[in-house]
Symmetry: C2
């Protein structure tokens, strides 16, 4: 069965395909639908953005569609960057720019107050617009400097306390088991039975 | 563990408690929180209304909360009554008033065009506002006259094709296995593992 992953981000397609391997889905992405509508991620929550993307793309492709919206909530910044995680340092900034900005904002914040969490909302929509939305959460601590070279986004500055390592140090095998996206996708896997 | 079912409708609490029996939850309802905020069900979709109710009540009660929003979509009425199912014949109307109004609107519609579906969105929120939303759908046909005396709402005029009987004729044992609410709740049961 075909399943459209509503993203252009090849990192996300790869992570999702890895976790759904063995589920017998032919995974497509927005790259396979060059004229697909662009969905503005202007909701107040990850769940809202994911649902909007999934329903829009499912209606357009007439196929079962999975969309995600994810980001980092830092307690010392009152939950920022949150739904603005991708645009935190402006539209054309790089992962490095965003990590540098975040570390800079937290430079005087001690370790005990650097708690944060990655959240990933995933929405599954059919062409009729019926939608399930689930949330995966992974708790952590913001590092004082970037470490590790796997993953993407905020991975080099997000420490998982249980391992005392950043996502970027842990590598894909462990990350794909414990991450916010992994947890959300495990929930989606359960729902795909229905 | 305590689980608040965010409804005042005793029929819904009973159905939900029956399906979650054996899951070791102490089920509370809004009757146990007499000052809980009233949440306006003014969203465009069942999912939106369920999520809004669950997050509001979870924050208020500081407990894991399950909320549902459900209704009937009739194809010959372009999906109406939909999210307005409970108010379809005005605020103070009875189930009988709503069923009579619906049958009247469909009085010249032949059986082949009386397709409809019950939908139930269920949202599960924790006190931090993290929310999963799932949808259960049950396809059917609108009857020409009410039949059966179990259940509530539109049950007497909703025929399940596989049984050739209305929900109100089928009774709770079968309804709690195949209904929109049962399907949504089975999904929720899976998500409660996380």
């Amino acid at each position: 069965m075909k399943l459209v992953v509503a993203t252009n981000n090849p990192h996300k397609v790869k992570e999702i395909a890895a976790i759904l391997r063995g589920q017998n889905y032919e995974i497509l992405s927005l790259k396979d639908f060059s004229n697909a509508p662009v969905v503005a991620e202007d909701g107040d929550t990850f769940e809202e953005n994911a649902a909007k993307k999934a329903t829009t793309i499912a209606r357009y492709t007439r196929l079962l569609t999975l969309a995600d919206d994810s980001g980092l909530e830092v307690d010392a910044l009152n939950g920022e960057p949150g739904v603005k995680s991708a645009r935190f340092a402006g539209e054309n900034a790089t992962d490095e720019d965003r990590n540098r900005k975040l570390l800079n904002l937290l430079k005087d914040v001690p370790e005990t107050k650097r708690s944060a969490r990655f959240k990933c909302a995933m929405a599954l929509s059919n062409p009729q617009g019926d939608t399930d939305v689930v949330l995966g959460v992974c708790e952590g601590i913001i590092a004082f400097e970037p470490k590790g070279d796997t993953g993407f986004g905020y991975d080099p500055i997000f420490i998982v306390p249980r391992y005392r390592k950043t996502f970027a140090e842990l590598g894909p095998a462990i990350k794909n088991r414990i991450s916010h996206r992994a947890i959300a996708l495990q929930k989606i896997k359960k729902l795909l039975q229905y």
